[in-house]
């Protein structure tokens, strides 16, 4: 690396980034998630000006409950998008998995947890089957999962039978989306998260210093920890002033953090990125490409099932519309709005959460303003288009400046 040291002007440039250049970097997507956060702030301001209830603790708590299902489904979608594939069956799978759970619990008297596990297993099995078909026969995932969409919607109607809807009374299931924790428990969770995150950051930094890789300035790490801590404290503060921290939000966050860890920090996640970036390179590097693909579709099916079960819990029911309407498209739109590429190899699980927040806020705000459903759909469509256009423009600029 001696030649690296012999180029002082590069290092100097790095340090002397002016504010303007940093802003440019944010826009150009080095920190594309910040772009989305900025968008969220704009959305919040627009709605808050028109309807002061928007940022109330009660409405923000509602918003968290509203985005749980879409966020969970999007977590699986992010994995599929990282491969550069698509899964159109997630809406139908979420409905079917919830229906299986409900039928087993209500009609057959299964224990709630067993019924939930069965629902998730159905989602996983469907994902496994679709992934196997896609990778074994090299059929486009678009077609396989489109066939799945139709098939599993039919299966949902079949499972529900003549009545067409089932009410869920078991508190173990309905509690998933309707339990709120007391203020004390909320703060215990907050402290636990902050301490645990601090320890992880510190351990990681110490290891880098020991290996001579860190530059001896822990400030960015401390700043990162402080920002996350502030967000956690702020969230608990807001949630506690209403009904408390909802279990649903904890479930969503656990999956987002856990699945982000898997995709960014494990061998499997690295292989997902590699297959999405260059499948041939991955194959030559000895990665079992088809195994990765099948696993990803299994994850997608499982996450869809979990999302569907949360939706059923919140509604206290499963009906013929479960997992239908625009759920599928919004679950795909979310991560794309937040910066996960449709072409594979680029993105993060955080975009599932951020995208769900964007879509959820727009929908929630327009509900508060009493706007009709046609307007809601058109506005959401416009936002998706806008986000993709911004992404495309940024990509073009990066290409022009030689940064692909």
């Amino acid at each position: 690396m001696s030649e690296q040291a012999a180029k002082p002007e590069e290092g100097g440039q790095e340090r002397s980034f002016s504010l303007g250049e940093q802003a440019k970097r944010v826009i150009q997507g080095d920190l594309s998630s910040l772009r989305v956060v900025f968008g969220l702030i704009v959305i919040a301001i627009i709605f808050q000006v028109q309807e002061p209830r928007f940022l109330s603790a009660e409405n923000l708590t509602n918003l968290m409950l509203q985005i749980t299902t879409i966020g969970l489904i999007s977590v699986g979608i992010v994995y599929v998008l990282l491969l550069g594939e698509i899964d159109l069956s997630v809406g139908a799978v979420s409905g079917l998995a919830a229906a299986v759970m409900a039928v087993l619990n209500v009609k057959h008297g299964w224990n709630a947890y067993l019924a939930i596990a069965a629902g998730v297993a159905v989602g996983a099995a469907i994902g496994f089957a679709q992934g196997s078909l896609f990778s074994r026969f090299v059929v486009p995932s678009f077609v396989v999962t489109l066939a799945g969409l139709l098939t599993w919607e039919g299966a949902l109607l079949q499972v529900l039978g003549k009545t067409g809807s089932l009410n869920i009374l078991d508190p173990k299931i309905t509690g998933l989306a309707n339990i709120f924790y007391s203020d004390t428990v909320g703060w215990i969770i907050a402290v636990a998260v902050i301490v645990a995150y601090g320890l992880i950051v510190a351990a990681g930094y110490r290891k880098r210093v020991a290996a001579g890789l860190a530059n001896g300035n822990p400030l960015p790490q401390i700043l990162k920890w402080a920002v996350i801590s502030a967000i956690v404290v702020g969230a608990v503060l807001v949630l506690n002033s209403d009904r408390g921290v909802p279990l649903a939000l904890l479930i969503l966050m656990a999956f987002v953090v856990g699945m982000e860890y898997v995709v960014k920090r494990t061998t499997f996640g690295r292989h997902v990125f590699a297959v999405g970036g260059n499948a041939e390179a991955a194959r030559r590097a000895g990665i079992r490409v088809n195994g990765v693909r099948i696993a990803v579709f299994t994850i997608s099916g499982s996450m869809a099932a979990i999302g569907g079960i949360m939706a059923a819990s919140r509604l206290f029911a499963v009906n013929q519309n479960s997992g239908g309407n625009e759920l599928l498209l919004l679950a795909i739109a979310g991560p794309v709005i937040a910066g996960t590429s449709l072409f594979g190899g680029r993105g993060s699980v955080w975009t599932a959460l951020l995208g769900a927040l964007v879509i959820g806020s727009i929908s929630n705000g327009m509900d508060l303003l009493g706007l009709s459903s046609p307007v809601k759909l058109m506005v959401t469509g416009g936002v998706l288009l806008l986000a993709v256009l911004v992404d495309a423009v940024v990509r073009l600029q990066r290409k022009e400046t030689g940064r692909i």
């Binding site: 030649e3 290891k207 890789l213 920090r265 494990t266 690295r270 590699a274 390179a281 590097a285 190899g345």
Partner: protein
């Protein structure tokens, strides 16, 4: 450097694709600390020979000896486990991953302790080792965490070569390592090849560019129509000899020579000479 027996030795290798003799009783060898340039016209059998060594397809007949022992290389894994690494022309890097991730792709380091269960990546160790490897090879890149897609062609080629060294191979096969590179980048890659020789590796370089081959190879092995057409010591050969071995045309009339040179060095074609 080449003390006694070669590291890798091929004897009487033949390979037929239908009626075509892609390789016809070829003898080829490379010793430790030696760079062999493998040259020949399109369809001369260079790729087939390399693919035979790399285990992409086995030979129809002939024997392969590695460190003096007869071995059979039937699949790529056989070659890898013997210690033969291949760097293909299309590089096979994932553009969306950074340099460290590409270097360790498929052989990631796993953290010890709790991380073993989830097969968590030991990024710190990988970055440390990647830094050492690249600085040993004097490979310069903007940052170990640069996305490979943002690197120049020469840097990508160097990363690809460095990557092949992580498996601690004894023989490295390079397929057109300088194709499509600019002059300074070509220099960097050639310098890297010389450092592989200093590490006592056996290096086989396939190239169309005779200038590069002369710059880096100790020996030049010429194939023509699947047969050995010459095996020259670089110090004792001149470009005309190699060109006539490649084309199979003796150095007779001036016009023939110029035509032959056009195969390898289009810019050296004299004025008025038609394109081949």
């Amino acid at each position: 450097m080449s003390s006694g027996q070669p590291l890798l030795q091929l004897e009487g290798i033949s390979k037929q694709f239908g009626p075509v003799h892609a390789l016809d009783r070829v003898d080829f060898a490379v010793s430790a600390g030696e760079v062999v340039g493998l040259v020949g016209d399109n369809g001369a059998g260079k790729s087939t020979l390399v693919k035979t060594i790399a285990g992409i397809h086995g030979p129809d007949s002939g024997t392969i000896r590695f460190e003096g022992e007869t071995v059979s290389i039937k699949k790529p894994q056989d070659a890898t486990s013997l210690g033969i690494a291949t760097v293909y022309q299309d590089l096979a890097l994932a553009d969306n991953l950074d340099v460290v991730a590409n270097l360790f792709l498929g052989r990631e380091e796993i953290s010890s302790g709790a991380g073993t269960v989830s097969r968590s990546l030991d990024e710190v160790r990988m970055e440390h080792e990647a830094g050492e490897l690249l600085s040993n090879l004097a490979v310069t890149i903007p940052s170990l965490r640069s996305e490979v897609g943002m690197l120049s062609g020469g840097q990508r080629q160097q990363v690809a070569v460095a990557r092949s060294l992580l498996g601690e191979p004894k023989v490295v096969l390079l397929d057109e390592p300088t194709a499509a590179l600019g002059v300074p980048q070509t220099k960097q890659v050639l310098a890297l090849i010389r450092r592989l020789r200093e590490r006592d590796l056996g290096v086989v370089v396939i190239s169309h560019n005779l200038v590069d081959v002369f710059a880096v190879a100790d020996r030049i092995f010429v194939l023509r129509l699947g047969r050995e057409a010459g095996d020259f010591k670089t110090s004792e050969a001149d470009e005309d000899q190699i060109v006539s071995a490649i084309t199979g045309l003796g150095d007779g009339s001036r016009g023939v020579k110029a035509d032959a040179a056009a195969l390898v060095e289009p810019e050296s074609v004299p004025e008025g000479e038609g394109k081949s």
